[in-house]
Subunit: 585 residues, 2 copies
Amino acid sequence: MKLSNLVGDRFKERPSDCVIESHAFTVRGGYIKNVANGIYSLFPPMKRITRKIEEIIRQEMDAIDGQEVLFPVVLPGSLWEESGRFESVGDELLRFKDRGDAQMVLGMTHEEAAVQLVREYGQTHARYPFMIYQIQTKFRDEARPRAGLIRVREFTMKDAYSFHTSQEDLEAYYARCYDAYHRIFARAGVPEVVAVKSDSGMMGGSVSHEFMLLTDAGEDSIVTCDSCNYSANMEVAENIVDNTGLDASEPLRKVQTPHCKTIEEVVSFLGSRVENSCKAVIYQKNASDEYVVVFLRGDYEVNESKLTNLLGEKIHPAAEPEKGGLVPGFCGPYGNGAKCTFIYDRSLKGIGSLCAGANEEDYHYVGLNLERDLGGVEYVDVAKIQAGGICPCCGRRTVRISRGIEVGNIFQLGTKYTKTMGMTYTDDDGTEKHPIMGCYGIGVGRLAASVCEVRRDDYGPIWPITIAPWQVHLCCMRVDREDCKAAADEICAALERAGIEVLYDDRNVRAGVMFADADLLGVPVRITVGPKNLENGQVELTTRDKRVKELVPREEILEKTQALIAQLFAEIEAHVNDKTYSTEQ
Amino acid sequence: MKLSNLVGDRFKERPSDCVIESHAFTVRGGYIKNVANGIYSLFPPMKRITRKIEEIIRQEMDAIDGQEVLFPVVLPGSLWEESGRFESVGDELLRFKDRGDAQMVLGMTHEEAAVQLVREYGQTHARYPFMIYQIQTKFRDEARPRAGLIRVREFTMKDAYSFHTSQEDLEAYYARCYDAYHRIFARAGVPEVVAVKSDSGMMGGSVSHEFMLLTDAGEDSIVTCDSCNYSANMEVAENIVDNTGLDASEPLRKVQTPHCKTIEEVVSFLGSRVENSCKAVIYQKNASDEYVVVFLRGDYEVNESKLTNLLGEKIHPAAEPEKGGLVPGFCGPYGNGAKCTFIYDRSLKGIGSLCAGANEEDYHYVGLNLERDLGGVEYVDVAKIQAGGICPCCGRRTVRISRGIEVGNIFQLGTKYTKTMGMTYTDDDGTEKHPIMGCYGIGVGRLAASVCEVRRDDYGPIWPITIAPWQVHLCCMRVDREDCKAAADEICAALERAGIEVLYDDRNVRAGVMFADADLLGVPVRITVGPKNLENGQVELTTRDKRVKELVPREEILEKTQALIAQLFAEIEAHVNDKTYSTEQ
C-alpha cells in the first residue's frame, strides 16, 4: 500500500480537546474521526489495527471452546423487561420506539440476547457447559464520553457468555477465560495488564475481575500491594484500619467550636489528632430521598461503591441535610435525633475518645466513646483504602494506588438472568434448574487506544508487531532520483511477495515530513532507502522503538527484515503464558 | 468441532411462518433465531458462512484498491439534514433522540458518513480517485420484513463509496466494481447472478445496476431478453409498443355502457378489442394530494416507479377520485374538466380509434382519436413491460420476465451528496469542484440466504465449498463400537491436522437423525464411517449434492478428501471471470 493513497490526514498541531496522548495521536495520525459526541469513524489504519485485535480475540475465544454468534444491535425492549434491566438501568441504555411504536433499545451488553438465543438449546443438562461470543457494535449513551476511543458511546466489543450446571464448573471455566484474557493482552503487546477484583455493578453476580492497563491516563483507581499478589479495584478494595494506641478514653463533654465545619477546622481549633475525630458524610437514597449518614474516622473518605453495595440501592450526596433534621458541619452520632440511616465505618472501631459533631450549630463533643456512650454499634467497611495503607491480603503497609484503563472484564453472573428470564434445564435427576452464567467482555477500540497510550514516545504510537496497521514502513527519501526510486520499488515488491505488509512512502516530500508521518503511523519496522547509503549498496533498517538501527546490504534486506519481524513476534510470544489464574488467585 | 457441542437446534417441522425454503431451512437447521420482527441472531453455522462471505468481499474490494474503514451505526441527524435525506427519506429511517435530546438516526446507508469522513482529505485533486468501504451493521425500519434473512430490518452490509474528479473516471471505476461484484458472487457459488439496470430510488444519481439472483422466491421482477444481452429491473424497463394496424379511425360518439366500470366489462359489452381501449388509472401526489390521471392502452398496467420518476415525487392510488371531479370507472381524456395532471402513456400513440370513459356515469366514448379530438398530446413511458413484449434493445418479441433477489447494487451517484454537503476539491486549474461519487452495496446475510434458496434440495441447503460453514461433515455411524469410533476419531484428527474444517458427528443417534442433520447443515463433503465398510477397510466419501459417492480405502481418505475439496474450489474458481462489464454492457 502506498502512503500517497492512504485515506486520512496526518498533522502536527495537537487538537485542543485532546486530554490524553493516545487521543491526540489517533486524531493527528489519521486513525479516527469524530462524528458526534463519543461517536467515531475509523480510518484505514485503525480499522487494520482493530481487525488484528479482533482476530487475536477470536483465536483465543475459539481455543477455550467458544462459538462465535451474532446478536442484534437493536433489541426489543420486552427482552430487557424480562430481565428487569429495562427499568433498572439508567439513561445509558438508549430506548426508542420503532415505526410500529414498539419499544426498542440499543444493545449495550447482550446477556438478555444470549439467554434468548440458547433458551431452547439449553434445556437438557447434557449440552452444558457451552460458551457463545460475538464481536459486535454496541451503544452506551455515556453522559460524558472522553479521551478518544477510551470512553465512547458507540464501540466494538467482544462479549462472551458461558452457561453451566454448577458453580464449580463456572469457576473452572472462569479460570480458563481469565488465562485466555491474559494471553489476549500479551498477544496485543501489553502483557503488563493486571487483573483486579472488581464491583459487578449493573451486571449482577458476585465474583468479577477487571483487566487493567496501568497508566496515569486511566480513569480507574487500582489497589495493588508491593509485598504480595493482591490487587483490586478501588471500588471494592477492603479497607483495613489499625487503631492500636487510640484506645485511651476520656469523659464525654460538649465544647464550643465556632464556625468549625470541617474536620481540619475542628482538629486545628481543638488541637486534637485527626485520628481521634469522627467525620459525618450525608447522602440521600435516590429512590426514597431517605437520608443516610456515614460516620468514619476523620482522615478517611467514603467509598461510594461499597456504600451503594451495602445499601443495595443508589445514593447521592444530600443537597439540603437540614430538611432531614441534620446540622451540616456539626452532625455527629451522639444525641442525633434525625430519622435516618446511620452507618458506622470500621475505621472508628476501637477508638477510645472521639471528637464528633454535637448536632447543634457551633458545638462538638469530645471524649466520645461509641461503645460506652451509644452502645450496640455495628461497624461496616465503607471507607476508601489509602496509599501506604494495610494490604487486606498480607497485612503489610504496602498498599499502592495506581491509575488504569479497564480493557476487559469477566463476571460470574450466577442465575440472575436465567432466573428472571425463565431459562431452565432438566438435570440428570429429572429436576428443573436454572443454568449458571458467566460473561466476559473486551472493548476492541478501547484496547487499541490503550495500547497506544502505553506504547508511544513523543512523536507517536509504537505499535506492537501483532496489531500494527502494517509491519514495515518503507521510506524512499529521494523519489526524484531514479536509482533511489528503483531500489525502493524493488524492495517493496520483494517484501510484498514474501507476504509482508508494507506501507510504502514514495512521496516527493521533505525528510522531516516523511519521518513525522512514519512516527505518527507507528509501524514497528522501518526501511529507509536514501541515496547516500545506496551508493554503498546499503539501506537502513530500524525499529520504531529505536532499539534497532543498522545498515544492511541491499540484497540482504528481505532476509534481515523477515528475521527482525520474527524476532518482534517472538518477543511478544514470550510473554503469552506469563500469568495464570491458578498462581495469581 | 463436534456436532454434539454445536449450539443450536435442528428440527424436522417446517415453521408455519416460513414462506420460502431458505427461510425454513435456516430456521430448521439452527442457523438463525428471530429476536424481533425482522431482527435475527445468528447461530454459529450462519456466523461462519457470513464471515467467509465477508472475507471474499473484503479481498475483492481490496483488489480494486478499496480501503476498509468503519462508520458508526448511530449517526447524528444533522448529518442527514446536510444531505436533505433527514426529510426526504420515509419511516424506514429510524430517528430518535439521545439522552441529551440530540436528534440521531440509525444508519441504513452511509453516503453522508462517507462524505463526512473524507471531506478534508479530499480537498486536493491529486488525492483522487479513492474508494473506502466498510462491512457493518445497518438498520432499515422496513414496514414488512419477510422471508428470514432476505428482507430484514437489521443486517450486515458491505457498503463502498468511491470519489472521482470526472465522470469518465467514475465510469471506469464503476466498471471495475461491476466486475468485482460478478467475481464475488461467483466465488460465493452463484455465478448465475445477473446485473440489471435499475432505478436509483432514494440514492439519487442516474446509472445504477442491481445484481439479481434469479429465483421464484425473489420479490423483484427482472426483465431479460432471450435474443440479446438486455436486462433491466421491471421498475425501469422501457416499454415498447407496436400499434401497427390500429390506425384506422372512426367518428367520435358517446355510447351508453351501463355498469361497465372495468376495461374488461366495457370491451365485452361493446364487443370491441382491448387494444382499442383507453384505460384511466387515478393517483394522488403524496405531498399535495393533487390528482394525477394516467391514460394507457387497456391491456397495459401502470409502472408506478417510472411514474414516480417522471413526476419527481411520490404518489399513491387515489382514494376518492370524485373529490377531484373525476368519475371513477368512466374517466377519460375527452371532455374531462377536472383540474389535475393528465399523463398519456405511449401505448396509446398511433391508435386511430379508442374507447374511453366519457366522464359521466354509465357512458363511454368510442371512435376517440387523441390527435384529432384532443391535439397536442405528449406521450411518455409509464407502462409496465410485458412477458413476450418487444425488447428495447434488439426489438424482437423475446422479453422474459423472471423473479429475482437483489443481492447487490451499484450506483453512479454524481455530485448529489458532495454538493449538498459542501465537499469540494481544488482542481489543477485552481477552481473549486464537487467530487463525483459512486456507491456499491452487498447485503451479507441476504446473500447467504439467497445462496441457500438456489443451492438446496428437499432436505436442506447445499453450501458451496467457498462459504460452507465447514468443509467436511464426518459421521460416525456406530459410536458405541470401539473400532468405528477409533477410526472416525483418527480421520477427524488427520483432517484437522491438514487444516480442513471438520464438523464431527460422534453422537449415539439413529442414522436417520444423523443424515437429516447433515443435510440441514449442508456441508459439501461428507465422510461416513460405518462398521460394514470398515470391515473392508473402507469409508464412504460423498458430496452433499450427490455427484460423488465412493468407497475409499481408509488410509487414502485424507488424500482423497483433499483432492475433492480442491476440485470443488476449482469448479467455483472456473466461473470467477465469466462476466465482465465491457462485454455485458
